[in-house]
Symmetry: C2
Subunit: 557 residues, 2 copies
């Protein structure tokens, strides 16, 4: 890659997010300087048992570690910042982000005991700064999260614009508008390359603004006869603010339940994004002190995640979140593909409690809006920026392909280029050429725990099975009674620690997990598996210091 | 259940399909006579590793085996007939179905070597017949399949109507109209109980007829510049006919690829549902003899099933179905929830071949219609039949709940009752009461093979792990190269047959499966797992006569 001929070209090298959704990460190199835009994670496919998160392979950065000047974050979603702990462990470079983004990053690094050594630098939208030969201009964009930016990177060969995640919300609820003018000015000045978010390139028209859900949510608040359980993605600060406003207007107290909901709300309050009036918020233990029609419970778990507060409430296994006949449960979110089974299983449980459930079924009105630009917004951005070259980012292969169709329809870019993770695009003022490949791929990480407890999560590669170890827990459950039949079978590989004692103890733990589960939980295999996995893992780690992959296999007999 | 007090009440006892989608099965009992409506299967959740199909627990029927007079099939879809082989093995009673339905059943029973002993009796829509105290009237309905019926069952306490699966298609492509008049007459005569399909009770309005897709499909046929690959559910006889008509009109020869597509077309031809003009059909080996713009390949595999013809073609691993740049692939089907990952992975592969892919993405026009009634059709049926009591069938708990809301909105039924699998509803002319529960549940079946080869599939309960046996194949694959790292680990439980030799051989088989897979296949974990599972299973069965559960675990390292 370092031959003299190309030494004064600019290299754009995606390390993640071009060919999949998630783990967004892109390196930009000019001579001996590299900057990295975003450092995300993604969640694994079901086929990869025992894997918790997936992050990009950064071998390329490690091989050129002396050149890496910093990581620039466009916003605080997991698919853009979730890989940071892993990367900083191996490559401690400065991290740039807006105020809100860095607050999220701080929390994350603290969990991993990496905060003390980290160099976090705040970016302010509109304020330009230099990193080596690069001049960076963060530009305010709107999205489902707050304080998001696109990045204009002026380089010796021309200007690159990376949109990050965005939509063009013309009535942003936080009063911080999408910065159309800066994009227009860049377009006049000349843009060499636009890297644009492909997530919604399939959708015609414009994505509705965040406030578009207000009328329907208002109606739901006014019609709810008893308790209203409101669930949304915990990072949807706009949505949380809106729900609190509506609760206040409709005379309901607000209780927050679920760690991620608590955490997000706290940060948003600290930074002034939410200002609940005095007395609006109550502790979850106080829910019973108010009449049901005077309470709104904001609860995390829209995706039916087995251990989330809402999933537990749905099977009547949450101390404070008791869902009763006539209560309303509103999932102000979308059904993320792949999560259908867990979500619909949770919804069935909610129906069994005789709750009224309102979710994204195509007939519930506008209870959620996407945070990503639809086709007309993508075209608008291209019209504003008038880039010479165009590369779609953030998407599966089919999204990248389709996004190129959308971009081509504007007749503006001279050339649209599809590149995937690891491919090197070399640019000068007149040309853009794919020149080769660097190492890229997915690194699978099995974090320590899936429970609510914050633990010291040691992140590591599963380099060899014999090194990492595998514990299979084979549990036979009687299909009639939902009870365990016989004792569990424990199979281990590459994990020879006091086998006999451990096996017996592991069996007991499984027994206990099953015994303390409600009947409804026992009928939910996914939940039971997750509980057993978490409990067994905690035990093994505590008693052996080892972190093998733990895989429960449930056989209904 | 047999106490004298209730002996002259009618009992309606769902054994499957009320609380889940699939495995539809309902017993109707009067005194000592039982008839059963439908005997379906469902496909398992991902959590149940190594299970191929799920069928209802028929303990209740076995306990009352002398009373069971016959099984009545409403139509030939798997969720209505797929459990038959299993049931007939344990309880060989007469099976009633329409001509087309019985042809499907025959093929299925022949595969399981059950055909010779089976007693199949044809029902003709409109022709009434008696079974014990029950008078049965099959009534023609329209659906995505042909020759479907609802069943009116006149009993000593009143008339029950079971809709089966239906929509009200007012321009049925086979010229066999939905029999509105019989339903109207039944309504006049008086209906005690309506059991109605809940599948689409969430959808407002009317479901479009089968022919509603014609304009858009016609457009796609006329715009396709090269080969057109047309895929739909193989049981969609109407759709297959339409595609053949269009191919003929647009001057394209038709090649059929995929066993299920071949099979369905053959049956439909035999029974006169499709009559391709002389010379339209070509053998798949002849595809290359015609110019690309003169060929339409009808191919099975809309759901990205790992071993389907289309999935294999997508990774360039099918002898005859070669997909080339500029070809069009049309998936005239819906994305069944839960199949997103395999479908979208297949679509990505198709895009990599530079094919134009048209699928159900919300922006492709009307390329598929549902076969199930929407809310207005459900209300229309209730208006026609004017039932005293109403019980929703076919659906998860939330569908049953919502369907009751739809039924209640008509103000016609005196009472709507939600019952689930195993619950007994007792009826007389004036009352409907839930009185208890019978044994019910799901029986998990691990069939012999998932390959295309028809095998003698022995169906059995997985009664005990130790009896069934478990073979885990743990394969480490290098994430960079996609190659296997080291040799596979084989873990067995309850399966002690010549362990050493078998382990070595199993490792070789896995090696061979991987070596003969293309690079693109190797990147598709789901596909690789399925291939290894099928190959290993075949080997073990052949060499040991045992049929253990085989579970490949792939670790990317």
């Amino acid at each position: 890659m370092n031959n003299d001929k190309n030494v004064d070209k600019l290299k754009v090298i995606p390390l993640g997010g071009l060919g999949e959704f998630g783990m967004n990460c892109m390196a930009i190199r000019y001579k001996d300087d590299i900057i990295v835009i975003d450092a995300g994670l993604m969640f694994p496919e079901d086929e990869l048992l025992g894997v918790d998160i997936v992050v990009p392979d950064i071998t390329y950065l490690l091989e050129n570690r002396a050149m890496v000047r910093g990581i620039l974050l466009t916003h605080g979603h997991e698919d853009h910042i979730g890989g940071l702990p892993r990367i900083l462990t191996e490559l401690n470079v400065p991290v740039y982000g807006t105020e809100f983004t860095l607050t999220y990053v701080e929390g994350k690094l603290e969990e991993h005991k990496l905060l003390d050594g980290a160099d976090l630098i705040e970016m302010v939208p509109g304020e330009r700064f230099n990193i080596g030969p690069f001049n960076i201009q963060p530009i305010r964009v709107t999205h489902s999260l707050v304080d998001c930016v696109a990045l204009a990177v002026r380089t010796p060969v021309g200007t690159i614009v990376h949109t990050g995640d965005f939509k063009i919300d013309l009535s942003s609820p936080d009063g911080k508008p999408f910065d159309l003018h800066s994009f227009a000015e860049l377009g006049k000045e000349g843009v060499l390359l636009l890297l644009q978010d492909s997530t919604n390139c399939d959708r015609p028209g414009y994505t509705p603004g965040e406030l578009a859900v207000r009328p329907r949510l208002d109606e739901i608040f006014s019609r709810a006869k008893r308790r209203l359980f409101f669930s949304c993605f915990s990072s949807s600060i706009h949505r949380i603010k809106l729900a609190m406003d509506l609760a206040h207007q409709h005379g309901r107290k607000v209780a927050l339940i679920g760690r991620s909901m608590d955490n997000a709300t706290e940060i948003a309050q600290d930074l002034g994004y939410i200002n609940p009036p005095e007395g609006l918020l109550i502790h979850s233990g106080q829910i019973r002190d108010f009449p049901p029609e005077k309470v709104c419970v904001m609860i995390s778990g829209t995706q039916g995640e087995p251990m989330s507060a809402l999933s537990r409430a749905a099977v009547d296994n949450h101390k404070h979140a008791k869902i009763e006949a006539g209560d309303t449960v509103l999932l102000s979110s979308r059904v993320i593909p792949g999560n259908e089974k867990s979500i619909f299983s949770m919804i069935d449980h909610l129906y069994r409690r005789n709750a009224k459930v309102i979710y994204d079924d195509g007939a519930s009105g506008l209870i959620h809006v996407s945070g990503h630009a639809s086709q007309e917004e993508l075209r608008l951005m291209i019209n504003l920026l008038r880039p010479k070259f165009f590369v779609p980012v953030h998407g599966d292969y089919r999204h990248l392909t389709r996004h190129i169709e959308v971009a081509t329809s504007t007749t503006i870019p001279e050339r649209c280029i599809l590149i995937e993770d690891g491919e090197v695009l070399e640019l000068d003022a007149n040309s853009a050429t794919k020149t080769g490949k660097v190492t890229s791929g997915r690194v699978l990480i099995d974090s320590g725990s899936t429970s609510d407890v914050i633990e010291d999560i040691i992140i590591r590669d599963r380099k060899h099975l014999s090194e990492a170890g595998l514990v299979l827990a084979i549990i036979s459950i009687d299909k009639m009674t939902g009870r365990q039949e016989g004792t569990a079978e424990i199979v281990t590989r590459g994990f020879a620690v006091n086998e006999e004692g451990m096996h017996a103890e592991a069996r007991k733990i499984i027994q206990r997990t099953l015994e303390t589960s409600s009947d409804e939980e026992k009928r939910d295999w996914m939940l039971i598996k997750e509980k057993i996995r978490a409990d067994l893992k905690r035990y093994i780690q505590k008693n052996t210091g080892r972190r093998p992959m733990v895989m429960p296999v449930i056989l209904e007999i």
